[in-house]
Amino acid sequence: MKRQYGFYFDSDRCIKCKACEVACKQWKGIKAGTIKLRRVEEVTSGVFPEVKRRFISISCEHCAQAPCITACPTGAIIKRPDGIVIVERDKCTGCRACLEACPFGAPQFGEDGLMQKCDMCLDRVENGQTPMCAATCPTQALRWGTLDRVSVFATHNALNKFAKNQ
């Protein structure tokens, strides 16, 4: 099987700087105030002074079993052999079934009404570069690589947390 690419995100390292969100927009030339192919969200809980804040950077997560693909009535969404999920916009009818199916709210609909989403910066990946959002992350909260490579980050992170709690 061809190697699969994926994102890795560590909420403990995210400081809601939104560099990823802005980097995505400028690289893709998306107009401000319109769609977001990547977004940073916050979950706040508790009451002052016992307050917790968590930050999450979300885009299309290029699921192994992508529900959007199953949901799309026209077969416009496909998973490439390298794992990247892309939309063939000429086949999209703008029915938004993919948005209903996606647990991350990743499919976006701009002025033309057709679906757009993160393509993992195919232009960069095919040029041997990291997608813009992960390349720009100032705290290494968001990373990208082949799945076996990002799983090393996850293991490393889990070991650190285990050691810290000892």
């Binding site: 939104k18 802005v22 927009k25 002052f48 002074p49 307050v51 041997g128 720009t136 100032p138 050691a163």
Partner: protein, 757 residues
């Protein structure tokens, strides 16, 4: 663990496009640290990314950039860019201008400057300093020296007050430990690195340390993103950090948590300090700071027992409280008596010990020898005491305090400034009391501005010069000395400057030539100046310009073993060669106003208006207001016009605890009238749980509109949205050593019913 990109190259994506390396100024003119790669397609700047050759953030191979850095093209093509020289056509403040030629503009300025010197003396000319801006710190000072004026108007709210208070107490200022991974306790006290320099390394370093087990205490009024990762958050009332620091000293001393050996050998006056802080109990501090006494005890015990620790002293406590010198002194003393000075993982004395630079360059000389010898005596409003300035301790030469100097225009005391260079700094938002500042600007004989944007203060200028952005010039070099070696890069003009705009460097040279100072200013030739800077490196300007990856000299010899505990050297300027627990360096000497004397001990003053400080006022104004100094979606008061950034914060925001908001009938998103004893401004409520119900926080500087998003700018006066309109600007209350001004006050709030733009 650092991500390493396999196969990442600076390869061009399209052979018809150009990728040009240069430097980002998203953190402002003072911090041109992040190398960038600019993609230019058909002569237009379209995309930007971090330059992996430029040792950004965590170093070799790093491609990161912050949100601001990612908006380069929008920054360059901003609709409100100044593109042509102009002269004022209407009244001051009205904003009507006529386009003129560069020659006419520069000749007018030169004529006025010469006339002013002849009529009123050179010292009646002042220049606003935005920050440690390389152009001003070199060419600007050189120009002042040759002209003969000392009046470099420094903001008194930047890093230098902190630096000075650290030096006066422990002999040095430490901005980072030698290695964060050795630090077992990180105390972030009013520091704001996840807002003020996200890509400059500290957030990443701190997160690495937390990942490997460091503890962290965060002391800020809001639960900011890094605070959310801390073990302990102390939500201090704005402006009361001095009380907290004294109580922590009280606990550490009374519970014998201090390093007795260090205190014995290296601290002067410890017993006097110990006796003094007996009054500063945790209960006393609870009343001032709003932090429960037991929580103060918990934090103090952590600081007394977890070693090594590094206390990062931020702008919020050192530079923006009117007792900043005492606050910083007290915090430095916590580090000192717990034995955390110049130890591995503690407060490193001096620069990171990575080895000597392998590329040598010349600093641009300031020509201090050309200046009159009585420069300090002629300062219109000394930022620090004259005796201190005469000792040569000011890092950038003699300075007057920005706000006080502007007020001389109105008071005429000791003499009025008459001509002002107000470039790269908007005084209506960069200091307090915009109403009085505007009156002062109107009263000036002559004001000129070189800026990128038509900022709100530009309306008061007589002559306006268009400056280009950092993307449009090739006039600056950047050198980085890191553990792997030394890297040298140079700015590259990625497109021709818009309109007739010129680089700030070239503008100074051109003006100097018109003044007849050509001989001292390379006869207007910037390349000649760059060659002089490069001379000791053996690298020619052509070679550097032809090296798109910059020039890197790899370190072949390992750096010498780091040195620690260099106390004789670090304390050499301090009385008795010791840490000043009882401060004889400052104590008993003249203050900056020349009237009162400075304190020997870090006496708590507190904010000019506060919950515990002014109980009478509290009855009418029940809430505390303050603001963040730097922000991740703007640069000070600039960049509100950048669409990608403005959409993140469309309106002047006011963080308010939901419980407090409901008490005043304010819903999330309502416009709120915020009124202090000094003025009123309007902000949009944003519910936020991570702030005390008695505190409100906002951000200054909303004068820029954003055309693309159809969002307006808001002015600096009553009814606008400038927080500086609300603070106490009584000069008598400013810090007596370094002129710091309070940015904390009491306010009352009410919902604005009418729709607002």
């Amino acid at each position: 663990m650092t991500q390493k990109d396999e196969g990442t190259t600076i390869a061009d994506l399209n052979p018809n496009n150009k990728i040009i390396p240069t430097f980002c100024h998203g953190c402002g003119a003072a911090k041109p640290k992040c190398g960038i790669l600019c993609h230019v397609v058909a002569g237009k700047f379209v995309r930007v990314e971090g330059n992996p050759e430029a040792f950004n953030n965590w170093g070799a191979g790093c491609t990161s950039l912050c949100a601001k850095g990612n908006t380069g093209p929008q920054f360059l093509y901003a609709p409100k860019r100044l593109q042509y020289p102009m002269k004022r056509a209407g009244d001051k403040g009205e904003g009507r201008f006529t386009r003129i030629s560069w020659d006419e503009a520069l000749e007018t300025i030169a004529y006025k400057l010469k006339e002013n010197k002849r009529k009123y003396g050179a010292e009646s000319f002042g220049v606003l300093s935005p920050e440690i801006w390389p152009v001003l710190d070199t060419f600007g000072r050189r120009f002042l020296n040759v002209y003969g004026s000392p009046n470099y108007l420094h903001s008194a709210l930047c890093a230098t007050p902190r630096m000075a208070a650290c030096k006066a107490t422990i002999g040095f200022r430490s901005i980072a430990p030698d290695d964060w991974s050795k630090t077992k306790l990180i105390v972030n006290w009013g520091g704001n690195c996840e807002n003020s320099g996200i890509n400059l390394g500290q957030p990443n370093d701190i997160l690495n340390a937390l990942e490997t087990g460091s503890k962290m205490i965060d002391i800020r009024p809001m639960l900011d993103p890094l605070g959310a990762k801390a073990d302990v958050w102390l939500p201090v009332r704005p402006g009361t950090d001095g009380a907290l620091a004294l109580a922590i000293l009280n606990i550490i001393i009374n519970e014998n948590l201090y390093d007795a050996d260090f205190v014995e050998k290296w601290c002067y006056g410890f017993d006097k300090l110990a006796a003094y802080v007996q009054r500063n109990t945790p209960e006393w501090a609870e009343n001032k700071t709003g932090i429960p006494a037991d929580k103060i005890r918990l934090a103090a015990r952590m600081m007394g027992t977890i070693k090594p620790s590094f206390i990062k002293i931020g702008n919020g406590v050192g530079d923006q409280t009117n007792d900043g010198t005492a606050v910083v002194s007290a915090i430095c003393l916590i580090s000192a008596i717990t034995g955390n000075l110049d130890v591995p993982g503690g407060l490193l004395g001096g620069l990171p010990q990575v080895g000597a630079p392998l590329i040598k360059t010349n600093q641009i000389a300031k020509l201090n020898e050309k200046a009159p010898t009585d420069l300090v005596d002629k300062l219109v409003a000394p930022e620090t005491p004259k005796w201190y300035q005469k000792m040569g301790f000011m890092p950038h030469g003699p300075t007057s305090a920005y706000y006080k100097a502007l007020m001389s225009i109105l008071s005429g005391k000791p003499y009025p400034l008459r001509v002002l260079n107000a470039s790269c700094s908007n005084p209506l938002s960069a200091t307090r009391n915009p109403r009085r500042v505007a009156e002062a600007l109107k009263k000036l004989d002559f004001m000129f501005v070189a800026d990128i944007y038509h900022a709100s203060h530009v309306d008061y200028a007589d002559i306006v010069l268009p400056a280009c952005t950092s993307y449009e010039h090739s006039d600056q070099i950047c050198i980085k000395n890191v553990k792997e070696g030394t890297w040298l890069g140079i700015y590259n003009k990625i497109i021709e400057p818009l309109g007739e705009s010129r680089s700030d460097w070239q503008i100074y040279l051109d003006l100097a030539v018109k003044m007849g100072y050509g001989e001292d200013f390379w006869n207007g030739n910037m390349d000649a100046c760059l060659r002089e800077q490069l001379a000791p490196s053996g690298i020619s300007l052509e070679e550097l310009r032809n090296s798109p990856k910059g020039i890197f000299i790899k370190r072949t010899q390992p750096a010498p073993a780091p040195q620690y505990q260099r106390y004789t050297q670090l304390f050499k300027d301090l009385p008795h060669g010791k840490v000043q627990c009882y401060n004889e360096f400052l104590g008993g000497k003249d203050s900056c106003d020349g009237v009162s004397k400075l304190n020997y001990l870090p006496v708590y003053q507190g904010p000019p208006e506060g919950i515990a400080e002014t109980p009478e006022l509290l009855k009418e104004y029940p809430l505390v207001l303050s603001d963040v100094h730097a922000h991740r979606y703007s640069h000070h008061s600039f960049m509100q016009d950048v669409p990608y950034l403005r959409e993140q914060q469309p309106y002047p925001w006011l963080k308010i605890n939901p419980a407090a908001a409901k008490k005043y009938g304010i819903a999330d998103g309502d416009w709120v009238r915020v009124e202090s004893p000094h003025g009123w401004s309007k902000f949009k409520a944003e519910y936020f749980a991570g702030i005390s119900p008695e505190v409100l926080m906002t951000k200054r500087g909303w004068w820029q509109g954003c055309d693309e998003l159809g969002l307006p700018g808001y002015n600096e006066f009553d009814g606008g949205s400038e927080v500086n309109n609300l603070y106490n600007a009584n000069e008598k209350l400013f810090d007596k050593f370094h002129s710091q001004m309070a940015k904390q006050t009491l306010v009352k709030i009410s919902k604005i019913e009418e729709a607002q733009p």
